[in-house]
Subunit: 463 residues, 2 copies
């Protein structure tokens, strides 16, 4: 397909991609839907009237909105037709756009001049725990290789949502996260943190009770919060020490189901609208302290970043690969034979404060996920839980099976025992204030790439 | 205050209450905001133009909407003015309504003729774990009296959100919940379930691994799902056996905070708009199986019921009581001297399928909560997590310190070891299909009550 817009072979956004996003410009500050093409954005509000196919001619208004929710509420047939219409309009063989100088000048904006917004009103947000390598790493760190996975991992239906976090704190890429101020327990062993280490925690529970009841509060004001003196295991309050990123991807739900009506595995694909990169900022020391018995809370609610362009499932189809081998066989409601796993290269870079030198600290791949997006959806709704267009489903940290493919600093520095040396000579066990974390994702093809752009965030000091 | 509407002394909705809700009628199916008064509803859309005070005269449109979100987005001064205006309009001393026969006939509807709707678009939903009696019961059941509470309970900042559940499945009262279909592990000991029993679980983890890896799948079709044969600890899939209610209350957030800006304890009250009764339906066997390490998921996402009328904090003020004694002293960001605890009687009735005989199985009180709503808000936002008008904050199960005041069947039947006999002679360890669960809440005053109405739901069989 030859496009009326020029771009290089390695461009994230060729005519085969066409991800959706919401943008505004200084000249027109109204957020509106666009499609990334090359270094430009095609403004769908300007060309909404050109969606004249049978599925969309009565739904052109969805392209005039400030979020993708209404588009997501339509059917896969409508999404497919939209893609076809866009590819046709952007083709050099179609004069509609190409030969209309006035429309061309109105419809295209440089990405460099645009401000990106959250692509959808996110109603609900669930974060799965789908990477077997990540779960294994954490298990090995604190139990043993033989007992790395919990039994409800081996039971396919029981991968666990990391949380259904606070959608209000999901922010678009290129924003800032703030180091968590929250109570946590100082470790006896420096950096010996693991949010998932039940055995370790239990031992702590039993031995800590007495000392906790006796602890003393000698407060010392720092900023507007107090720090409590720590007597070994006593809890403290203040900026967390162990801020981490989590390399994830997430998909937006398309369509919906009624409360009480599960989405069967056979229909699950119809509800996967498209994917983004996600960074689930995590305060490991807070998480360790608070997560039992009901899961993480303030360790995670400081914010989650996603990349601004939503890459549709259609664009990923050429990069489909075998599903991850599943043993034991999943429960029947989770079984599917068709491939729904994708070869998406993932990369995490860290740039220290004030530095323009980024260091790639992780190279992973979406294909390492054990559970498919279809299985996530089927499990989510098996009780009849209802989903809505714009709900976001995180994958969980995506780690590979090599030490440079781990999707968090917890794993990369192996609990802080193996500091990572950045190109500027500084070392990292966990994130430092001012660090920029930049995540990239792309599928590499013979003649084109399908890119996701970047999910970038800066860690600010605690308030 | 004498009201133009007649009601009895024991009415839930006197002129001192004035809770907000969203209703429609068959004659006018458009959902709109109303205020409960006696057995009637005052339609605020009809009288929006009468809110002429300085805070509201430019915001009359908030009373014409289909949800309370815009009203919740205003300030406490505006809410107070609305209450004053309503009390004035409903007073026999004010001719505006009383002497306008046409307006009277348009503005009042019988509650019996109304259909109630969800009062707000709930953006985010957090469920705390604030009853020390509930947490203690669960701890005693499976550990010991001495080690009942986990250390992060004793540390005041670390009460834990039960989940941030799926708002899409929060439904208004008088609806139906469906028994969860989900994988769970059969207990070796009948009814020996506890979602919070880390030690018990850990033992299970260690001893189960081998048998799980060896388990065999001999499937047997039942309905459209499969049940796996259970060899002791092997997981099964199918309708859960241990469905439970959880007696809770919840408050709606008013106003908002920006991401990165905590709500201080001194300002927290400004963000508590009003309260409802909540039933957090729970599948105990599913919960036990899935909750580690990241919290419950499908055990809870089948639905949560709330009562339709939102009782404002102003109406509760005469029933304020001492805060629950907190030892050790909370972290500074959680300390407040003013009382923000309320004497609200709570009651749970069960009516078996086809029976019109209800049995009261629990009498509890909101005042048993250890953490105040102000502390919940301050903790929630201490990391800078942003809240929005209409966010819902559940209290967690509210249990008292006597065996008839426990807020769940798990506790009332003490893990199923003490079945409850209903008035029709049947017994309950957990809920049976067709059971109606009816929760009531009211403050009892000398001359009037402040009632919350009812939160009622029927448990349907699994799909």
């Amino acid at each position: 397909m030859k496009c009326i817009i020029q771009y290089s072979k390695y461009c994230d956004f060729p005519i085969e991609n066409l991800p959706y996003g919401v943008f505004s410009t200084s000249a027109n500050p109204t957020p509106r839907i666009g499609v990334a093409i090359g270094d430009s954005i095609l403004d769908l509000k300007e060309i909404a009237y050109l969606f004249t196919g049978p599925e969309l001619r009565n739904h052109q208004d969805v392209f005039k909105e400030a979020t993708l929710n209404s588009l997501m509420a339509l059917t896969p047939n409508a999404w497919k037709e939209a893609r076809g219409t866009l590819q046709s309009l952007l083709s050099v063989d179609n004069p509609t756009l190409k030969d209309n100088a006035d429309l061309l000048s109105r419809a295209f904006t440089s990405q460099a001049e645009a401000t990106m917004h959250l692509p959808a009103r996110i109603g609900d947000y669930t974060d799965f725990y789908s990477s077997i390598y990540h779960a294994t790493n954490v298990g090995v760190m604190f139990r043993s290789k033989e007992n790395a996975l919990m039994p409800n991992w081996e039971i396919p239906s029981c991968w666990i949502p990391r949380k259904s976090q606070f959608c209000s704190s999901i922010r678009n890429s290129n924003t800032q996260a703030t180091r968590a101020n929250s109570p946590y327990r100082r470790s006896h062993v420096a950096y010996c943190v693991c949010p998932f280490d039940v055995h370790h925690w239990d031992i702590g529970t039993m031995t800590m009770t007495a000392s906790l009841l006796k602890r003393r509060f000698s407060t010392k004001r720092t900023c507007r919060y107090s720090f409590l003196s720590s007597n070994g295991a006593a809890p403290v309050f203040g900026p967390c020490k162990l801020m981490d990123f989590e390399l994830e991807m997430a998909f937006f739900v398309g369509g919906s189901n009624k409360l009480g009506e599960p989405i069967s595995i056979d229909r699950a694909q119809d509800h996967v609208f498209g994917f983004v990169i996600m960074n689930d900022w995590s305060a490991r020391d807070v998480q360790k302290w608070e997560y039992l018995p009901l899961g993480p809370f303030t360790a995670k609610n400081l914010g989650t970043s996603i990349s601004p362009w939503v890459v549709t499932t259609y664009a990923l189809e050429p990069f489909v690969v075998d599903n991850f081998p599943q043993n034991p066989e999943p429960f029947p409601y989770l079984r599917h034979q068709d491939k729904f796993n994708f070869d998406i290269n993932l990369q995490v870079d860290i740039a220290p404060k004030g530095s323009n030198v980024s260091t790639t600290v992780c190279r992973s791949n979406y294909k390492y996920l054990y559970w498919t997006a279809k299985q996530q959806l089927a499990h989510h709704t098996v009780t009849g839980c209802n989903l809505n267009p714009g709900d976001l489903m995180g994958s969980g940290t995506i780690s590979g099976d090599t030490s440079d493919s781990f999707g968090s600093l917890l794993e990369l520095s192996w609990k802080g025992t193996k500091p990572i040396t950045l190109l500027d000579g500084s070392q990292r066990k966990f994130l430092q204030d001012g660090d920029t974390v930049r995540m990239k994702a792309f599928c590499e093809g013979d003649s084109y790439n399908i890119g996701f752009g970047e999910c970038e965030g800066i860690l600010l000091p605690a308030i």
